[in-house]
């Protein structure tokens, strides 16, 4: 999979303790596993089930998604800037899909 997520931090430079907002959008079908194709066969589930965000290696936010999350999942959350480092967003899902996106934050 060569999917590239779109990630936007409201600021890349923050003072210690400041709240940073992260918005991320990734292109994915999020097939529910409940739909039937033209031959009335169930279309197998294919979703991104797990999302994790780490800042400088520490998990700040994570989420488990069910098929009730809309296609091309969008996620927005916030974290408190305490140290500089990479902001890594990872989606994992069915069919061994792993999508990784990265940005960075500088505190000071």
């Amino acid at each position: 999979m060569s999917v590239k997520p779109r990630i936007k931090l409201d600021k890349n430079q923050a003072k210690a303790g400041e709240i940073v907002e992260v918005k991320a959008l990734v292109s994915h079908i999020m097939e529910t596993g409940l739909r039937r194709d033209a031959n009335n066969n169930l279309v197998p589930r294919d979703i991104l089930a797990k999302f994790v965000c780490t800042v400088n290696g520490k998990v700040v936010f994570s989420a488990d998604f069910e098929p009730a999350i809309a296609a091309n999942p969008y996620i927005q959350f916030k974290f408190k800037a305490t140290e500089s480092g990479p902001v890594v967003l990872t989606w994992t899902g069915d069919k061994d899909v792993k999508i990784v996106g990265e940005d960075k934050i500088t505190v000071g």
């Binding site: 709240i19 529910t32 409940l34 739909r35 039937r36 009335n40 800042v55 520490k58 998990v59 700040v60 936010f61 994570s62 989420a63 488990d64 998604f65 069910e66 098929p67 009730a68 999350i69 809309a70 296609a71 999942p73 969008y74 996620i75 927005q76 959350f77 916030k78 974290f79 408190k80 305490t82």
Partner: protein, 152 residues
């Protein structure tokens, strides 16, 4: 007699598969019939969730159930001593109850998350938050859906 039973059975099977195919298109069938209560019970371990602290922002009327914006906020200081750890979001009228589970950490600073969800019909969306002191809080919002969004 055998013929009658067979015919009834055949009709029942026909109706059931039609319902499965239509999914979100049948609100009357879907309403309250999914596993959302079990999911909440499993999440809280049988404890009752008190109203308050949790805020769910959803449109009152969603024109398209395929993508409904949802904002979840939990009023919490988010310190190591007092924070929200997990929030379960379920819907009572989708084919399956679960929507998402958010895991917050004190490093997050603010317990706020937003995403876009699928709603198959007009129904209630329920959020249950687990606090670090072991208590549970919840919020519920009804969304009127004009076009279902679960594979219909």
């Amino acid at each position: 007699m055998d013929w009658t039973i067979d015919r009834r059975r055949a009709l029942a099977i026909g109706a059931a598969s039609a319902a499965t195919a239509a999914l979100g298109g049948l609100p009357a069938l879907a309403q309250g019939g999914n596993d959302h209560k079990e999911l909440i019970a499993k999440f809280t371990g049988g404890k009752t969730a008190a109203p308050g602290l949790v805020k769910l922002d959803l449109p009152e009327i969603a024109e398209n159930g395929n993508t409904v914006p949802m904002v979840l906020t939990v009023d919490s200081p988010m310190t190591a001593a007092s924070h929200v750890s997990d929030v379960l979001v379920v819907a009572d009228g989708n084919p399956r109850g679960g929507i998402a589970t958010f895991h917050f950490t004190p490093a997050g600073g603010v317990a706020e998350a937003s995403t876009r969800i699928r709603l198959g019909a007009t129904q209630n969306v329920i959020a249950v938050a687990k606090l670090s002191d072991g208590s549970f809080h919840m919020a519920s919002r009804q969304v009127k859906v004009t076009i279902g969004g679960c594979g219909g």
